[in-house]
């Protein structure tokens, strides 16, 4: 299960610009392109002069009332030529881009989906074309076809089709492995249907971007080709030929280059901007929150109430103490949304505290917050995180780096991605020892072999030289644990360390954690979604729901006598908790997303025991056993659990 990784990105900023972020700019872009189209169509009526009418008497004049943008070397009206140039620009861009798309996309789709020999042949040709400067290829094609605007555009179309081909192929290669393509094949859709109906729409976003880039490139290439006499033939007016004229007469009239230059820049920018907006509006992967702004604001106003939660009793052997931690992520529509609120916990030496919850409960973020590894924009806004008596939140960055690895280490869910595939596992452990403990190369290697042996890997000296992909998932996780323990940390944070493993391997890893804790005496914060795993490994368990702790108790007490309706709901929903024959017990509804939490008890909407008092914020009460429920301990709840 990779629950958290799937849902968190929805709460975190996606890096995507918001459509409608700059409506004024979009309006301008649309206006520019509309104007361009109108001028292209109605050039005869709009242009004040014939663009070809020469008047050598008026050559190279600056802007005047008669000629708003001045005249060129042959005394032709620059404004009129610019307007007629719109037509060339539109034709050129449309023609070349259309050819490029129509040629590149289908071939790319085909070879990407089919693969094999076709793919090999086409890609070798494409590579040959791409390895030669584009303008040279265009010249060669024009040499075959002959000069002139349309022929030049065909040449450019063929040239630019290679980038569309590679784009389409790349997307198909990635998409054809997606499960939805398998689904379509099971349904019985033909290959062409899968390509056109299922895969093609997913090419649209990068395709639109590529089209806008190509339009810009075509406008510039047209200018280049016209300059060497292979594109638009004089005396016809195009922005490219106008620029070239301007270049020749720069010393006499610098202004000549300004109108076509601005025209090209404005057009290209407008097309790019519009392309971005179009791509965003296709809306792939944008999650929609009810209204992320309102709850954040509401929540901030409610903050003082959280102070009512009972403090965690201090203990002598305390390694970690977190008090009233609050973590905010940037909301999608601006502002910040809380993902963890009023979170307090403490772990003693040699103790394992389980943090249990479903996706979006904030349990993984809690671990990352302790390490100071919250992502960009995510920040802890309240509370304290004391490790061995020092508040980590007040430490400077360098202090935190010193703490990480030395005093606190982490084991992640997926050992195959948490280890670097480019280095041997031994060297990855040795590196930590050299950086953090200043050991020499040989010493560090010897120690890492010892550690690999300690985590129960057979033939440690040989295995130290293995790369992560040569190890099974269980072995790789053992290596990750060895690396985490290399500097003898006082706190180990384990984030779903057995979730990616098979159950028989999970059993081995849990045994290993227990065994290592007996020897090293570190405190463990064990994050898991699996209550059974928590029952096995933990001394105490905290149950999180929607960013807050709803219950915290010793492991025996929690499983024998859950006090919070959510805890008892979760327990009875476990597959091996109930006996055969559905309907199996469920908790109705879904875990609310951050930003859509109810103001009062966050579980109230799914709870069978809801009363009016649940609409207020509920503090965590109790000392040894803590529970966040106004009705905890009532006979009715006791009977239900």
């Amino acid at each position: 299960m990779s629950i958290d990784t799937k849902t968190m990105p929805q709460a975190l900023p996606s890096g995507r610009r918001r459509p409608g972020g700059a409506p004024v700019l979009i309006g301008i872009a649309v206006a520019v392109l509309l104007l361009l189209a109108l001028l292209a169509v109605f050039a005869e009526w709009v242009a004040p002069y014939d663009p070809l009418r020469q008047s050598l008497m008026e050559a190279l004049q600056g802007p005047s009332t008669a000629h708003w943008l001045g005249t060129d070397d042959l005394g032709r009206d620059v404004l009129s030529r610019l307007i007629y140039g719109c037509r060339i620009a539109v034709i050129a861009a449309a023609e070349a881009t259309t050819i490029a798309v129509l040629l590149g996309v289908p071939i790319g789709l085909f070879i990407g989906y089919r693969g094999g020999l076709w793919d090999w042949i086409v890609m070798r040709i494409v590579e040959a074309v791409v390895s030669i400067p584009g303008i040279m290829v265009a010249i060669v094609i024009i040499a075959i076809l002959g000069a002139g605007l349309h022929r030049a555009m065909i040449a450019l179309g063929i040239l630019f089709s290679t980038s569309f081909l590679r784009l389409a192929r790349g997307v198909v290669l990635a998409e054809r492995e997606e499960v939805y393509v398998r689904s379509a094949r099971v349904v019985g859709a033909s290959d062409s249907r899968i390509l056109m109906r299922h895969i093609f729409p997913n090419i649209a976003p990068p395709l639109i971007v590529q089209v806008t880039l190509t339009v810009g490139a075509v406008l510039l290439a047209e200018a280049g080709l016209s300059f060497i006499g292979l594109g638009v033939q004089p005396p016809q007016a195009s922005w490219g030929t106008m620029l070239n004229t301007a270049a020749a007469f720069m010393d006499f009239n610098w202004f000549l280059s300004v109108p076509p230059g601005i025209a090209i820049i404005l057009t290209v920018l407008s097309v790019n901007l519009l392309g971005d907006v179009l791509r965003d509006s296709i809306g792939r992967g944008i999650a929609v929150d009810a209204d992320p702004r309102a709850p954040a604001a509401r929540y901030a106003a409610e903050l003082p109430a959280t102070a009512a939660s009972a403090p965690v009793p201090r203990r002598d052997d305390e390694i970690l103490r977190v008090e009233h931690l609050q973590v905010m992520v940037p909301g999608r529509a601006g502002g910040e949304v809380p993902v963890i609120t009023d979170l307090s916990l403490s772990i003693g030496r040699g103790e394992t505290l389980g943090l249990v919850g479903e996706s979006g409960s904030g349990k993984t973020l809690t671990g990352l917050a302790i390490l100071g590894l919250l992502g960009a924009g995510v920040r802890a806004t309240h509370g304290s995180i004391e490790l061995n008596g020092r508040d980590l939140r007040t430490l400077p960055r360098s202090g935190l780096e010193e703490v990480r690895g030395n005093e606190v280490a982490m084991v992640f869910q997926d050992p195959t991605t948490s280890l670097n595939p480019a280095f041997t596992v031994g060297s990855q452990i040795a590196e930590v020892l050299r950086v953090k403990q200043g050991l020499g190369r040989r010493q560090a290697w010897a120690r890492s072999v010892e550690l690999i042996d300690r985590v129960g890997i057979p033939r440690p000296a040989e295995r130290a030289g293995a790369y992560p992909h040569e190890l099974s998932g269980g072995m790789a996780q053992r290596v990750a644990i060895a690396r985490a323990l290399s500097c003898n940390p006082s706190l180990l944070i384990a984030d779903e360390p057995t979730t990616a493993l098979d159950v028989t391997v999970q059993q081995e890893i849990l045994d290993l954690f227990r065994d290592l804790q007996d020897e090293f005496g570190m405190a463990i914060l064990f994050v898991t979604h699996d209550l059974a795993v928590a029952a096995d490994i933990c001394d105490r368990v905290g149950v999180m729901y929607a960013g807050e702790m709803v219950e915290m108790a010793g492991v025996d007490a929690l499983f024998a006598d859950p006090r919070h309706p959510y805890t008892s709901g979760l327990l009875s929903a476990m597959p091996h908790a109930s006996d055969r024959n559905p309907p199996l017990p469920t908790i109705r509804g879904n875990v609310p997303r951050p930003g859509t939490w109810p103001l009062g008890c966050r579980f109230a909407d799914r709870c069978d025991f809801r009363i009016a008092a649940c609409d207020r914020r509920i503090p965590l009460t109790g000392s040894r056993r803590q529970v966040r429920c106004v009705r905890a301990g009532e006979p009715e709840l006791e009977a239900a659990s």
Partner: protein, 337 residues
């Protein structure tokens, strides 16, 4: 439920070839070896195993996504294995699937209506209005409603997406639905909603399920029969309750024992009774003999020589283990461990 098998898998082999650099030669890797399975109409068969056991290969072969390299898969009157992966539409429409990951099994660029009606577009001549009516019906079957038709997958939670996937799988009224880990990507509180939904639809519509999962407890809830796979072999098969409560194969026992109990005290007692297992070396594929013998606490010398045949188990079903052989061959279990 009738006794005539709906799907009968006999001696199924599935192999993959390791492509070498130039595409020639390469090693052949057996994902499934000599598998036998039977699913009757309206019945649920749970196929359980750990990663690499070959359970998904069987699913993919039944679905025609991967060709069988030997054996037969009889489905009604046809042999699916002989067709390789080219199923005629009449066969395709009767076998549908729901996959594990509801985040990538639905096409992000399609609306719910397009996703649910896609099978109808491919297989029927219904017009748009008819398809839409059917889509509304299907959504109701999975407790979603008409208003969801125009939305895109990203607007739904994992559990809701899985409902959409189920609606689409039900569209053609199939006889068999292959469920490949249908709830393992879901939260505990939503898992059971989907399990209940699958169970209710099965009762109503008389569909047979091939349920692929790694969690025996979960499979036990809705399966009539359970088959357990280990390294490409089906090592035990039988009625759901018998396999879950009285497992006969040492691997099935190990699988059940490895899931921690929800009672911490009982779990501590079980843990104390168990010696800490040494780490398993990288899985060795046994070419001859029992695939589990390297890890088996009761392995005997003969386990290395022959693959144990399927012996009948008291209470129903079979298990491929010499412990069940009427004649132990004079060996003491465990001496070759």
């Amino acid at each position: 439920m009738t006794d005539k098998p709906l799907l009968e898998i006999t001696d199924l082999d599935v192999t993959y070839r390791d492509r070498s650099l130039l595409g020639f030669g390469g090693r052949t890797f057996h994902a499934v070896k000599g598998a036998n399975l039977v699913i009757r109409a309206g019945e649920t068969l749970g196929l359980v195993g750990e990663s690499g056991s070959g359970k998904s290969s069987i699913a993919n072969t039944v679905l025609g996504l991967v060709p069988a390299s030997g054996g037969s898969i009889r489905f009604g009157d046809v042999d699916l294995a002989a067709m390789k992966t080219r199923y005629p539409p009449a066969v395709r429409s009767r076998i549908q699937a729901v996959f594990q990951d509801p985040y990538s099994s639905l096409n992000a660029s399609m609306t719910v209506e397009a996703i649910v009606t896609e099978p109808l577009r491919v297989h029927t001549a219904m017009n748009r209005a008819e398809r839409r009516d059917r889509a509304v019906e299907l959504l109701k079957l999975v407790s979603l409603s008409e208003e969801h038709l125009t939305r895109h997958p990203h607007q739904f939670s994992g559990g809701q997406r899985q409902r959409i996937a189920i609606a689409s799988a039900l569209a053609l009224q199939p006889k068999l639905i292959v469920l490949d880990e249908p709830v393992s990507a879901l939260d505990v509180s939503t898992q059971n909603q989907i399990i209940n939904l699958l169970y209710e639809r099965r009762e109503e519509l008389g569909i047979a399920y091939l349920l692929i999962a790694h969690d025996l407890a979960l499979v036990h809830h809705i399966s009539d029969r359970i088959a357990v796979m280990y390294l490409g072999h089906i090592v035990e098969e039988g009625p759901s309750d018998r396999v879950y409560r009285a497992p006969a194969h040492p691997y099935t026992k190990a699988l059940l024992d490895a899931v921690p109990l929800l009672d911490p005290a009982a779990q501590r007692r079980r843990r104390a009774a168990r010696k800490i297992a040494p780490a398993q070396d990288a899985t060795r594929v046994a070419e001859t003999g029992c695939p589990y013998r390297n890890r088996c606490p009761s392995a005997m010398a003969r386990c290395a020589q022959h693959m144990p045949p399927a012996y009948p188990v008291e209470g129903g079903g079979t298990a491929s283990c010499f412990l069940l052989a009427p004649d132990t061959g004079g060996e003491t279990p465990g001496e070759a461990a």
